[in-house]
């Protein structure tokens, strides 16, 4: 029978992120379905498991030390490997994050196992665990089982409601781990400036700009500067996250009118990101399949397009407004301003 280990790095505040708590809840659920027990492994400078004391874990393991504070491959992989070995678990689950995703496959390799990432579903059938995950950039979903163990998983957010419970006192087993010689030092974080528009996972709304913003409008004019103002005003007023179709980002290379604040970091879809927002509003975009794959995980979707026969009309949006986005967004901004 499989035994489970939920793994997470911890920072100075010892708190787990919402994603991690969701993955913990998913681990707990899977353990119940499998009739198995689960353990928790934490690493960091001084991880503390008390906040999770009542989550139902059979055991708590930690790897401590200043060397393990930095989010870097060599030390993170070393700590995770030690925790997995100490627990003897066959199913190892962590919440998808840059830090866990950087090492999960490598850890699996060190343990002689295999890994899967971007896991969006966990199930069990007759004691056999199965996962759901995406292929071809979120364009196909597969459910699979595997024989290899340990099986290391990176769990996407939204898989289960975050675990909530009262803190307590956890009995922790500290696992020895000798960090490798550090050749890499994390020196800091470069964040976008406050007025820089980007995809912000914490926003409720994703605003997606399509290539139409830079094209000729129904009156025959190109109105990119007006478009820029409308979009930036809207983002300021709504605090929405800003995404873009690939074609609009690509226009930068073409020496033609572009939205100057867009970069590849805004790109949603086939070769960009697949953000998860409760709501999404697409503007001046045709809604064609490869460009909309990035919308898979957006909850409620609405679109403004001049073409009543565009892709959005075919089941890709909940509501399609057949209208001129310039006119509509100007009114939206006016209403938002009034409301403030």
């Amino acid at each position: 029978m499989d035994t489970l280990l939920f793994l997470a790095p911890t920072g100075a505040d010892h708190a787990l992120s919402k994603n991690a708590l969701e993955a913990l809840a998913a681990t707990k659920q899977l353990a119940e379905k499998l009739g198995a027990e689960f353990c928790i492994g934490l690493w960091g400078e001084s991880p503390n498991a008390d906040a999770l004391a009542n989550c139902g874990a059979a055991k708590f393991f930690t790897v401590n030390g200043a060397d393990f504070a930095q989010p870097r491959y060599a030390t993170d992989a070393c700590a995770a490997e030690a925790l997995c070995k100490a627990s003897g678990a066959t199913l190892i689950l962590g919440a998808s994050s840059p830090r866990w995703n950087r090492i999960s496959a490598g850890v699996a390799h060190r343990l002689g196992g295999r890994s899967d990432s971007h896991v969006t579903g966990l199930s069990a059938d007759n004691g056999v665990p199965a996962i759901a995950r995406w292929y071809y950039r979120q364009r196909m979903e597969a459910v699979l089982t595997r024989t290899q163990r340990p099986w290391v998983l990176a769990i996407e957010s939204g898989i289960a409601p975050a675990w909530e419970g009262a803190p307590g006192t956890a009995t922790v087993e500290a696992v020895p781990c000798i960090p490798p010689a550090a050749r890499t030092k994390v020196t800091g974080i470069e964040s976008p400036t406050a007025d820089q528009q980007t995809i912000r996972p914490d926003a409720d709304l994703l605003f997606v700009t399509g290539a139409g913003w830079t094209k000729k409008q129904p009156d025959g004019q190109v109105k990119t500067p007006e478009g820029e103002t409308l979009i930036l005003d809207f983002l300021r007023l709504s605090r929405a996250s800003l995404g873009s179709t690939k074609s609009l980002v690509d226009l930068h290379g073409e020496g033609q009118a572009t939205l100057t604040f867009l970069t590849h970091m805004n790109q949603v879809g086939q070769t960009g990101s697949t953000p998860r927002h409760a709501k999404g509003l697409s503007t001046c975009c045709h809604g064609e399949e490869p460009h909309t794959v990035g919308w898979r995980f957006v909850g409620e979707r609405r679109a403004i397009s001049l073409d009543a026969n565009c892709g959005w009309a075919r089941g890709k949006a909940d509501v399609l407004y057949v209208a001129d986005a310039f006119a509509v967004m100007a009114q939206v901004n006016a209403l938002l301003k009034d409301a403030q």
Partner: protein, 269 residues
């Protein structure tokens, strides 16, 4: 000035603009009309290759290899476009590039091919690739290649690399919220899984193409058969997401009314 040996791992994926559909095959899932779909270099691997070429150009004496596992005919097809972009030496491995194979099996083949490069010097070695492919999309292969080569300085979602005056490497990795984590790695060897980077796609340069082609065609001709699969994995199902919604189409409504509806919707939690 450092003379890097930059090995880029990258293979072909279907042109992202194509309509993709899964089909069940004898050895597992695959894509409908897989061999008929136009093949391109995997986009993030492409960025890795362009960044590699740029780094090599800034550090004379450096060299770039491209290790590609894919069906020979498709690799050849993709090379005719790619070879015009930047100079590199191809190491072709003849096998599947489909997304439903195991990262571990692909990584084993790639690592073997890298280790077989004559004159490889770990103190100069940078292993580049896309942080995720547009096919399997697992973000696992580069880590596994690194592990197999014994490289534990690994970076994923890289958007920038800079050589500092002391020879160390300053690397920017994508993390949450549009931010980058800044790391300094003392020296090669290192593994970098690239995101978009900062370089535009290089122009097609026929002279670069000519120079590359002298090595590419022989490399394709001697491409080693490298079968990879998904041993141990059972695909219970592979399906296109049923994301069809019952779209309400709102026509002939003045912008003011549409705006009011939208504002109501976005402010109503």
């Amino acid at each position: 000035m450092p003379e890097y040996q930059i090995v880029v791992c990258g293979s072909v994926v279907p042109d992202p603009l194509q309509t993709l559909e899964p089909v069940a095959g004898a050895t597992g899932p695959g894509l409908k009309n897989e061999m008929m779909l136009p093949a391109w270099l995997d986009p993030w691997a492409g960025h890795a290759l362009y960044e590699a070429a740029s780094l090599a150009a800034k550090n004379p004496g450096s060299k770039v290899w491209l290790v590609a596992l894919g069906p020979k005919a498709k690799l050849q097809q993709a090379m005719m476009t790619l070879a015009q972009k930047v100079p590199f030496e191809l190491i072709a491995l003849d096998g599947t590039a489909g997304g439903f194979t195991e990262a571990a099996e692909t990584a084993a083949v790639l690592a073997d091919a890298i280790q077989a490069i004559p004159g490889l010097d770990p103190s100069r070695l940078l292993v580049f690739g896309g942080w995720e492919s547009a096919s399997r999309g697992a973000g696992a292969t580069m880590q596994l290649v690194g592990e197999r080569l014994g490289i534990t300085d690994q970076f994923q979602g890289v958007d920038e690399i800079r050589t500092e005056p002391d020879g160390s490497l300053r690397i920017l990795e994508r993390i949450e919220g549009g931010s980058h984590q800044v790391s300094v790695c003392d020296a090669p060897p290192a593994v970098l899984g690239w995101a978009t980077g900062n370089l535009p796609e290089p122009r097609n340069n026929p002279q670069v193409g000519m120079a590359n082609m002298r090595m590419i065609m022989p490399a394709l001709q001697k491409a080693k058969p490298s079968p990879v699969g998904a041993e141990g994995v059972t695909f219970v199902s592979v399906s296109l997401p049923k994301q069809s919604r019952d779209t309400k189409i709102v026509k002939d409504l003045p912008p003011e009314q549409i705006a009011a509806e939208i504002v109501d919707w976005i402010t109503n939690k």
